[in-house]
């Protein structure tokens, strides 16, 4: 399997050094979760990968030519476009109308928003809006999906719901996913591998694979509870 690699990354903001000679790799086609305390630089790494900010120095391998989708913490939907319109927004304008309708329809179905195609975001709940954002990220013909704390501030039920939705889509379309969170439970429910970050300057404290099919996962699982303990121990340092 190919890896997406970052080697020798240096990045500081003002006087704070976030990354000093930092390296990490991500297996392609897998969901990798970056788990760490707030402010440690997780979002910065994501933004470097997404080309939103430049590193001071470092090498990124395997990212060239890759198309990237981004799911932000808040849905960032255009209020004046319908659900369908928002998803179409990221599609190539030159695609014929039926093709666009087909694609948007497909993903709207996958996020279980059938019937809401012509609704404006103002009429949707927070969870539904995030689902549209997910559909949009997948509708965009990307190779990598980046997610920055996408479930922050949502209640448990909604989280589980969205995790369910996401896994369903991902099963049929296994793109590389890198997502960032400080919530241990989230990381356990959604990723194939969890990388724990320390505070700045960032070190990898541990990497834990989660050997359990996404669809089977539940917070009650013993396996996951044990894994959680390991992670918490690491986060304590």
């Amino acid at each position: 399997m190919m890896n997406l690699e970052i080697k020798g990354l240096y990045k500081s903001f003002e006087d704070i050094s976030l990354f000093r000679n930092f390296s990490i790799n991500f297996p392609e086609g897998e969901i990798t979760c970056i788990l760490g305390p707030s402010g440690c630089g997780k979002t910065t790494l994501l933004n470097i990968i997404g080309n939103i900010i430049r590193p001071d120095s470092g090498i990124l391998n395997g990212f060239d030519g890759k198309v990237i989708s981004y799911i932000f913490q808040d849905p960032r939907l255009l209020p004046w476009k319908t659900v369908r319109g928002n998803i179409e927004f990221v599609l190539n304008k030159n695609l014929p109308a039926e093709k666009r309708k087909e694609i948007t329809g497909h993903f709207i179905k996958l996020v279980e928003l059938e019937g809401f195609e012509d609704f404006y975001p103002g009429k949707l709940s927070g969870g539904m809006r995030q689902r549209v954002a997910i559909a949009r990220a997948f509708a965009y013909p990307s190779d990598i999906i980046l997610m920055d704390e996408p479930l922050k501030g949502l209640d448990i039920k909604l989280k589980l719901n969205l995790i369910q939705t996401f896994s369903q889509i991902w099963q049929s379309d296994r793109r590389s996913v890198i997502f960032v969170t400080h919530d241990v439970d989230e990381s356990l429910l959604l990723s194939n591998e969890i990388v724990v970050f320390s505070r700045a300057p960032v070190n990898i404290l541990t990497r834990q694979k989660v050997e359990m099919p996404l669809t089977n996962r539940s917070p009650d699982s013993e396996y996951l509870k044990r894994l959680k303990q390991i992670l918490l121990n690491n986060l304590g340092t």
């Binding site: 989708s69 981004y70 932000f72 255009l78 476009k81 927004f89 990221v90 404006y120």
Partner: protein
């Protein structure tokens, strides 16, 4: 056939009726057509105005002046507003100018305009000058209000400059433009009629108001006022209607 009204409509209708009753009582109290003619007489005069052969020319002239003024102030307002929205320095430069124009009493502007312009163009100039600060300020605010995060998202998804302007900036600005237009038209319509009263172009609602004054036709003064108010009200309705069409997503 039953005609039913909602509570809100009842209250509005009642309000109008009460105003008419007060008018009638005051008219009877003063007893003089020079101070306050009674409503029936005034409404009759208003209808007579409609039948005047020049009515369309008169109202049309004032309307055309307003529309021309509005178009010019729209172009100028949007042009400057966009620049000010993008460039904070220019905005800082423009602000005192706009505040000065907005704070200057309209009558002072008219008196100055009478010195600089021919009477025919004074009303248009006044319309333009009074309307453009509203549009300019609103466009600037609109641009500055555009959600940075949405622009970021669009850039991230490689939406392309033109698309971002068309589908992220413009829809965000439209509510502001509508608000600016509403204020501008309301203010400009009244200013233009005042301008006509003083500059006396051959055809115009303001001119006719002044004429009525000269000929001691107080009911005609009020009648023309009613015409002006009705038209102002219709402008308002048009704007409300276009608001519903253009920003359906807000409702």
């Amino acid at each position: 056939m039953k005609i039913s009204f909602t509570d809100k409509q009842y209250v509005s209708i009642a309000s109008v009726v009460i105003m008419l009753v007060i008018w009638k009582i005051l008219a009877m109290h003063f007893g003089s057509d020079f101070v306050l003619p009674p409503p029936e007489k005034t409404f009759f005069t208003t209808f007579k105005l409609f039948t005047d052969s020049h009515f369309l020319a008169i109202v049309g002239s004032t309307l055309i002046r307003s529309i021309i003024g509005f178009i010019f102030s729209g172009i100028l307002g949007m042009g400057l507003g966009i620049i000010a929205g993008i460039n904070p320095l220019f905005n800082a430069f423009l602000r005192p100018v706009l505040v000065t124009i907005r704070s200057t009493p309209v009558i002072a502007l008219i008196l100055l305009a009478l010195i600089w312009f021919t009477p025919g163009s004074v009303p248009v100039f006044i319309a333009m000058l009074t309307m453009f600060p509203f549009i300019c300020t609103n466009v600037t605010d609109g641009i500055r209000s555009v959600d940075r995060e949405l622009v970021e998202m669009a850039q991230f998804y490689r939406a392309g400059r033109k698309r971002i302007i068309r589908e992220v900036y413009i829809p965000a600005i439209i509510p502001f433009i509508i608000s600016g237009t509403s204020s501008a038209i309301g203010f400009g319509w009244r200013a233009i009629i005042t301008g006509e009263v003083l500059s006396q172009p051959e055809y115009g609602i303001g001119t006719l108001m002044q004429n009525a004054q000269t000929f001691l036709n107080v009911d005609a003064v009020i009648a023309w006022t009613i015409v002006a108010v009705i038209i102002g009200y219709m402008f308002e309705k048009v704007i409300r209607w276009s608001e519903h069409k253009l920003i359906a997503w807000r409702f």
